[in-house]
Symmetry: C2
Subunit: 454 residues, 2 copies
């Protein structure tokens, strides 16, 4: 490995120049006018896969933008197989006038390279390709089997990825998925995310009288659907943040002592958190810290509510209907279907007389978790420790990454999220940037990851 | 009086022809294209006041449509003075295709005359003018002093009436205001409305974090303003319909035993009420019947609510803000200012940590009540009993009639609401109609009212 790490150190400036070329392609996937540029970017990636020494390279067409594939099966039948996933498409750049430098003219200032896609995800794709290259250009082989897919539709929700994974299930078969598309906890605070929450997203419709009424004439003898909805929402959680839906917590995997200790190591700054949000409290489920509540405990939030008169002024309507979008973040081993059924049953149970309700299951996503002692996680932890000189924090994330579910459900493989972004990276915003020290550290981490899997 | 009543019986067909002429004028006050027709209608009324024998007749200009005035001060200094108020303007006619007959071509079918304005309020203005005429054309004098104002902006909220009342306070000085612009409880169910509820209309804004957040990343450690608003709304009333705002009921005039007995006489059909609204309950404040709750008890209703994502689909936002419009119907002797202050104080008291709130007083209106044993009410009750052959029900109304407050506050006079409409009169809707039997009965009631005041 010493040769490999040395090789990486010696090629820094080449890596940066190559990354700049990648970043100059405006591969905005949502923009029809950029369709040719997205295609050019796929071809750029294809050529690079060839240059670094992968085999069986191909641009796979989809109903949208193509997926680029390459592999190197040096490990042989008994060695583990890693599927590296990344995306070559980027977010739009509006508002353009807030960019200090043009988004597709990569500019290095201090330790950062500024450009659209610098951290999300071109920089992190490139560092992983450079990790593979470092093996192949020094020892000539990779210690394990490696497959690479780089797609072009992540920023528009990967609408064609599931079909691709299903269609090429055999080609893509693997033991571990590796993704570099997430931020670390902070600079010099390496972290590995091993868990994601799922989602159960419901919509409720409450109907009182069959038509809008005059609140003066009828107020006092008719159930108001907005008041009824408010009361029902208030009954979903108690004052200590506990969700009251029957059997809601039945399948919740408790936070282990090990996890709790891990989270306590993290320098979460409650005051900075509150200051940033201009709020005076961080309320949530009693008995759990903020990170536990945001990462490893289920939650219930109203995402939207509407009903009655919402314009300017005072219209005295007693409305017929009120609506709310209510979603629950799930943790292993809750499932969206089970929670949707429990939500609907409970909502029916707490419905007052004088209204009817309709409950719709709008959307669901499974929670995901990669065991912290799995082969992939262990290899990643070791790699980061060697490069950063300290044990990475083990974190979870409160949101979902749908592709992680796709890999889990279609390919049956857990995902290692080894990301090298930073919290202030401005992904999806003007002045997106990637810290170049992390970029180069990432290359070494990638190279060591493959080695550590053996 | 026998002569007068006989005269009224003999002039039925003339009355109907005259009313038709009045109804043919499309005096739609909200429509700029009908400005000249509104003016023509005011002149039509002015000419009629002269024809029936009033004095001091004048069209008073306002910033909008004019007010027509006339008087007959036959009673002299010591006799009571009645101010009759009505309006000559009408609602728009859309949707025109739902009218069986053209809205400004009055058509008699069975007992009803169909036309825009037939009952609201031209028919009821006309019957009162004919009552005055009957006195003047038979005995030559009115037994009391009568002043008449017919305005042209009632259907757009009487924006210039308060200024008119203030500017001409002395001219309009009176002991009782008489209005015929309300429906009776039912056909052959004469009723007199002696009380109106007031209004206190608030808007609340709840702010959680300073910006919209990702509900996955932040859910669990941030107060959600929609959930907080729902909980706060749920704390405004208990499960028995009692409003929990501190000191809310302090000034509420209790329903008397006499009133309770009056309301129990009324044929309120709970099942028909529920069937009409397609609901299965008539919830409200415990211990009170539906009519008591809709007329004589204060209520609290959400008139509108909004916040977060309200479009199609599932957006996982933890919003920064949520809003609601919350209004309370008031009863004597509550005042909007006092209740607004109590609401704001209570809302601040129940505000959870993690949100800030803003409470805005959008609109208020005083409740109104005319003592059932006042001279005006007694005269009206006697008149209706003589004409309908039965004692009128004494009712209240749950809404507000802002002009009643204006008369009370600017002129210091209570209002007698002696209306001859019916619940199915289609005011403001297509196929508006006035029952002609009630029209003719109304003329007699008006004539007797003046007589009974002596």
């Amino acid at each position: 490995m010493a040769d490999i790490l040395k090789y990486i150190d010696q090629n820094k400036s080449r890596y940066e120049e190559e990354l700049k070329a990648f970043l100059r392609i405006p591969s905005i996937s949502t923009s029809p006018e950029h369709k040719d540029e997205v295609r050019r970017c796929a071809e750029f990636v294809r050529d690079e896969l060839g240059r670094i020494g992968l085999n069986n390279i191909k641009i796979y067409e989809t109903a949208g933008h193509p997926v680029v594939y390459g592999e190197r099966l040096d490990g042989g039948k008994d060695a583990p197989t890693v599927l590296f996933y990344g995306h070559y498409d980027v977010q739009p750049v509006d508002p353009l006038d807030l960019w200090t430098n043009p988004p597709f003219e990569p500019t290095i200032i201090g330790d950062n390279i500024y450009a659209r896609g610098s951290v999300d995800d071109k920089g992190q794709v490139w560092l992983q390709l450079k990790a593979i290259e470092a093996h192949l250009k020094t020892s000539g082989v990779l210690p394990v089997n490696v497959k690479v897919i780089i797609e072009g539709e992540e920023e528009i929700g990967s609408p064609n990825l599931d079909k691709f994974l299903s269609d090429y299930q055999e080609l893509l078969a693997c033991d571990t998925v590796l993704i570099s598309d997430t931020p670390m906890f902070g600079y010099d605070l390496p972290s590995l995310c091993y868990g994601l929450r799922g989602l159960c997203y419901m919509q409720v419709e409450v109907t009182g009288p069959n038509r809008d009424l005059h609140s003066g004439f009828f107020g006092g003898a008719v159930e108001n659907p907005i008041n009824a909805l408010a009361v029902m929402i208030s009954k979903l959680k108690d004052s200590k943040g506990k969700i009251l839906i029957d059997s809601f917590y039945d399948n919740v995997l408790p936070i282990t002592e090990t996890e709790r200790k891990e989270y306590l190591k993290l320098p979460f700054d409650r005051n900075a958190f509150m200051k940033d949000l201009e709020t005076d409290a961080t309320p949530g489920e009693e008995g759990y810290g903020e990170l536990e509540r945001m990462w490893a405990r289920p939650t219930l939030d109203c995402n939207g509510i509407w009903g009655g008169f919402t314009g300017e002024g005072a219209k005295t309507v007693l409305p017929s209907k009120a609506f709310a979008k209510i979603s629950m973040r799930l943790v292993p081993n809750q499932t969206p279907l089970d929670i949707a059924a429990k939500f609907e049953a409970f909502f029916n149970k707490i419905k007052p007389a004088g209204v009817t309700i309709k409950v719709i299951d709008l959307h669901g996503g499974m929670p995901a978790m990669t065991p912290i002692d799995s082969a992939g996680m262990t290899a990643a932890r070791k790699a980061m420790k060697e490069v950063f000189g300290k044990e990475p924090f083990l974190t979870r994330e409160g949101g979902s990454i749908p592709i992680v579910n796709s890999f889990s459900q279609i390919l049956g493989a857990p995902t290692v999220l080894m990301g090298f972004g930073l919290p202030d990276q401005n992904a999806h915003s003007p002045n997106e940037k990637m810290n170049l020290k992390n970029f180069h550290r990432g290359i070494k981490c990638g190279a060591l990851f493959y080695q550590n899997l053996v």
